[in-house]
């Protein structure tokens, strides 16, 4: 490889991560002309997206380990490094983040018209923090970005959300903050025992048995609590419906599309990656909580009279699949879990956009307010259909691949898990199709709905990429999976070891 390419490769993660932040700083000095601010934010997010495309383009597939690494000492005591790097799992999550961000800008174009500058500054800061979470390989740096997502997100909900926004923002902040304090305690504890904050060296210290079994279990639980709140795993999900419902559309898109993935990513990277033994031991009750989440989320979604709440509860159900896949510890299950993270980001992100578009026209989310929308808004109805089917898991669309892999992994691990989780697929078909029928089919019952304008060009531009992504990921999953597989195999290798120990 020539030296030029090498320097690009070591700088690319820094560029991708901090491009939005740099944009936010520039935005600070831009005059308060709303349209200028919007175009500028769109440009910045597009630049970040284009930069992030470098990652899959030059990623060495079939190779395990981290790539594009950069490791510079930052603070000498505690020994903190500016250490970034990605593997096949985190790479796609980074791309997902940069993919959704310009769409968020587009979808907020008209719906945010007060304090526009503040909104886009917060959105760009949030994007940097989100990318940072996925690329950090120093535990401190990870915690740093993890907490940094909290404030812009809480402010986006609290400043730009709906009626009960303040309640939702505070609840969101406190739930995540309190839980992540325990992760911080675990990180500090690991540092005080190993003298390092590097992912790799802590991993090897744990594997060499340098830390006692009991202490490692407490650390496992510290991390688990922080991630479980974020995912969210039943029964820690109560912040989610409020936050999703009250957030402005772009907030919901990033919240569902990316923020929740921070939790599942953390479970996979840290809980399974650092503590394979503890993960194995605790897998059964975690899997059961995940299955409860799948079924409970689906059942609650089914009875929601409110579109946005329905989509929010469907997230609880879908994320249950991801957690179940991770804790099945099978190649297929974890592959599927990672794939499902991306699917959920695309589909649910798009669902929130669609719901937001409807809200802009009617200022309500009540399902009973609609009916027969397919007549005045045919294009909108088509997009909604495609995305909804991808969320249901129709073959040839992305959701099918992820759910299939997760379920086959769950069956391998324990047949009962697979059977119970499979009912979740049926439930999700029920509530989504039923909702679709009530909103779009039949005759137009309300006068106002008869003249609703179909989606505009801007909204079309925001929706096409998600629909195309859903199709592409359903037709050619190998393009994504062949980068994910080696990374998953690396994560699973130590767990498999313990499985053999248990089998004996």
């Amino acid at each position: 490889m020539n030296p030029h390419a090498e320097s690009v490769n070591s700088a690319i993660l820094t560029l991708v991560t901090f491009a939005p932040l740099a944009g936010a700083l520039l935005l600070l000095f831009l005059p308060r002309r709303d349209d200028l601010v919007r175009w500028f934010a769109l440009a910045v997010t597009l630049v970040a997206f284009v930069l992030s495309l470098h990652l899959p383009a030059h990623f060495v597939r079939h190779a395990s380990g981290f790539q594009y690494e950069i490791d510079l000492p930052w603070i000498s005591s505690p020994n903190i490094h500016y250490h970034l790097g990605i593997d096949g799992i985190s790479m796609w999550l980074v791309v997902l983040t940069t993919f959704l961000s310009p769409l968020c800008v587009l979808i907020s174009w008209k719906s945010v018209n007060e304090r526009v500058k503040e909104f886009f500054i917060l959105l760009l800061i949030l994007e940097t923090a989100l990318i940072g979470v996925f690329v950090a390989l120093d535990l401190f740096l990870f915690y740093f970005f993890w907490e940094a997502t909290l404030i812009p997100m809480a402010l986006i909900i609290g400043m730009f959300g709906h009626a009960r926004r303040v309640y939702a923002a505070v609840k969101f902040f406190l739930f995540t903050m309190i839980a992540s304090m325990f992760m911080l305690a675990a990180i500090i504890w690991l540092y005080s025992r190993t003298g390092s904050l590097q992912f790799a060296s802590i991993q090897s210290a744990l594997q060499s048995g340098q830390i006692g079994w009991g202490a490692a279990t407490w650390c496992f639980l510290g991390f688990f609590l922080a991630f479980a709140v974020k995912v969210p795993i039943f029964p820690l999900h109560t912040w989610l419906p409020d936050a999703h419902f009250e957030a402005p559309t772009a907030g919901s898109v990033l919240l569902a599309g990316v923020l929740l993935k921070m939790g599942t990513y953390g479970l996979l990277r840290f809980n399974v990656g650092l503590f394979p033994e503890q993960a194995r031991e605790n897998a059964s009750w975690i899997a059961i909580l995940a299955i409860i989440g799948i079924i409970y989320g689906a059942l609650v979604a089914m009875v929601q009279p409110n579109l946005k709440k329905l989509v929010a509860y469907s997230s609880v159900s879908h994320l249950g699949f991801v957690v179940l896949g991770i804790f099945s510890f099978t190649q297929a299950g974890v592959d599927g879990a990672v794939y499902q993270m991306l699917n959920h980001g695309v589909s649910t992100g798009a669902l929130f956009m669609l719901v937001g578009i409807l809200y802009e026209r009617r200022h309500t989310f009540e399902i009973s307010e609609f009916g027969g929308l397919a007549t005045p808004m045919p294009v909108y109805a088509t997009f909604f259909m495609v995305i909804m089917l991808s969320s249901v898991g129709l073959p040839l669309l992305n959701g099918f691949v992820g759910e299939f892999l997760v379920l086959s992994g769950a069956f391998q691990a324990k047949a009962a898990w697979g059977i119970l989780a499979a009912t979740g697929v049926i439930w999700s078909a029920c509530y989504l199709l039923w909702m679709y029928q009530r909103v779009f089919f039949g005759t137009v019952k309300k006068e106002v709905n008869a003249t609703l304008p179909d989606i505009s060009a801007r909204e079309r531009i925001a929706l096409w990429p998600t629909a195309l992504a859903a199709l592409a990921m359903g037709v050619a999953p190998l393009f994504w999976l062949n980068a994910i597989e080696p990374a998953v195999r690396t994560v699973l290798a130590p767990v498999a070891q313990f499985a053999e120990v248990f089998a004996r």
Binding site: S77, V170, I178
Partner: protein, 479 residues
């Protein structure tokens, strides 16, 4: 023999005294009823000169005046910090005094005299001298607390502080007497020799307990904290910024000297209990406050608790963690009170939490700065408050104080709620109907706020240099 070098080792104290006297003399020359801003600038120059003197002095470490004063990295650190705090507070006071119609130059003089006492506390290594320095700093702050003479709450604040403070310093002096009885000396490092050679009477435990009571009062740690909310509520806001940071830093310096340099025994459990109590009582009481100054008073009690966690930790790492905490706490708290003092307006009318509603709209810059300080008080990354907590917790975990850390972690989580309340009010609520426009921030206050915010962020992003320095200071302290 007293040599010229002896005077260099108290140079900052001398400089501050001279400027203090100059301010008092200048006061006579100004007509009554005009703004005392020129004297403020003079006092500011005094603090800058003291900073320069500290930097100069740092090149000549050693002892002076028959081993009464000791200049080392430890004392230099606290000198620098306290002078910086004084400079920030002076800058933050200009507009405040004009807004409150306080036209008295001795305000600035007293800040300088108080600073003399505080810096001397950090470099004195003889207990009687420490006591005298403590009194110099205390008496100035007693007077400063009552400076809003027309407000009954300010008078109450001053009297309460004076009565309880005198009582507490008596405890300290009593402890000094006991330690003299037990070890036959009042010099810190000779006490250490006596204790390490085992030639001391059990009275030394009583002495340590009494001195801890005296210092515990000064740093407002539970159960000696009851005075704090009333005094902070009544005292002028910039002065609260001063007295919640600088005298505390000095008192913590004294405590570090007594515990670690003099190696006195028997303080571990009292400190452990006081730390746990301060954090818990402070944070829980802060939850229900609706006056910003009272809320931050309870928050400062809680922060004293976090600091004491570092004391309970093992020596070197604990000391440097405590020193770092003192510094980062100082900047965020001075900054927060600078914002509060500007916002309070004439007669400190706007100090209720509800008054902060919609500040994000009414004055975006002021709200953003206050947000930085509040995030730092919560302990969010990229602020000094985060690293301060990080160092304290990791020092405590390395010393196996797992339970104390768990208490501290739970407390930090509780604390997030009440700091967050202000942020929520500022950004997510609409301003009150009758809220008057917020006055624009003048240059001196702007500098003070900018410096405090910059220091807070600097400590949160590049704590390396400061940490190296405090580790050296800690090493000097334990010899």
């Amino acid at each position: 023999m007293i040599q010229a070098m002896d005077y260099v080792r108290v140079l900052p104290e001398i400089v501050l005294t001279i400027f203090g006297i100059a301010v008092m003399m200048g006061e006579v020359l100004l007509r009554p009823g005009v703004s005392r801003k020129p004297l403020g600038w003079l006092a500011f120059a005094g603090t800058l000169a003291a900073l320069a003197a500290t930097i100069y002095q740092a090149r000549y470490p050693g002892t002076a005046f028959f081993d009464l004063v000791r200049v080392d990295s430890f004392s230099i650190f606290f000198h620098f910090l306290i002078c910086l705090i004084a400079a920030l507070v002076v800058l933050a006071s200009f507009e405040y005094l004009d807004a409150q119609h306080i036209r008295a130059g001795e305000y600035y003089g007293l800040i300088l005299f108080g600073t003399v006492g505080m810096v001397l506390m950090s470099s004195a290594v003889e207990l009687v001298l420490i006591f005298i320095a403590l009194e110099i700093s205390s008496i100035s702050t007693y007077v400063l607390a009552g400076f809003r003479r027309r407000a009954p709450s300010s008078i109450e604040s001053s009297v309460k502080y004076f009565l309880l403070g005198s009582f507490a310093t008596a405890f300290f002096l009593y402890g000094v007497a006991f330690i003299f009885g037990a070890t036959g000396t009042t010099r810190i490092y000779m006490i250490a020799d006596a204790i390490q050679s085992g030639q001391h009477s059990p009275m030394v435990f009583v002495a340590v307990a009494l001195m801890f009571v005296g210092i515990g009062f000064k740093v407002a740690s539970a159960p000696f904290h009851v005075w704090t909310p009333d005094v902070y509520e009544g005292a002028p806001a910039p002065i609260v910024g001063l007295m919640s940071t600088a005298p505390k830093a000095a008192a913590f310096a004294v405590l570090l000297r007594i515990f670690f340099a003099a190696t006195t025994p028997g303080w571990f459990w009292p400190v452990w209990i006081s730390a746990a109590l301060s954090m818990t009582l402070g944070n829980i009481s802060a939850l229900v406050q609706d006056n910003v100054k009272r809320m931050l008073a309870y928050s400062s009690i809680a922060h004293a608790g976090y600091l004491l966690v570092a004391f309970a930790a093992a020596r070197d790492i604990g000391i440097s963690a405590a020193m770092f905490y003192t510094a980062s706490y100082a900047f965020m708290n001075v900054g927060a009170f600078a914002v509060i003092s500007h916002f309070a307006s004439a007669g400190e009318r706007y100090v209720a939490l509800e008054d902060y509603a919609g500040l994000g709209r009414r004055s975006p810059a002021l709200a953003a700065t206050l947000t930085i300080f509040l995030l730092s008080l919560i302990g969010i990354p990229i602020t000094g408050g985060f690293f301060a907590k990080f160092y304290v917790f990791s020092a405590a975990l390395q010393s196996n104080l797992v339970w104390l850390v768990i208490i501290a972690v739970l407390n930090s989580a509780i604390a997030a709620y009440y700091y967050l309340r202000i942020i929520v009010l500022m950004y997510m609520r609409d301003p009150r109907e009758a809220a008057p426009p917020v006055q624009s921030v003048g240059t001196p206050l702007g500098i003070a706020l900018g410096l405090s915010a910059a220091a807070t962020i600097y400590l949160g992003v590049l704590p390396g240099r400061v940490l190296d320095y405090v580790s050296r200071g800690a090493a000097m302290l334990v010899r």
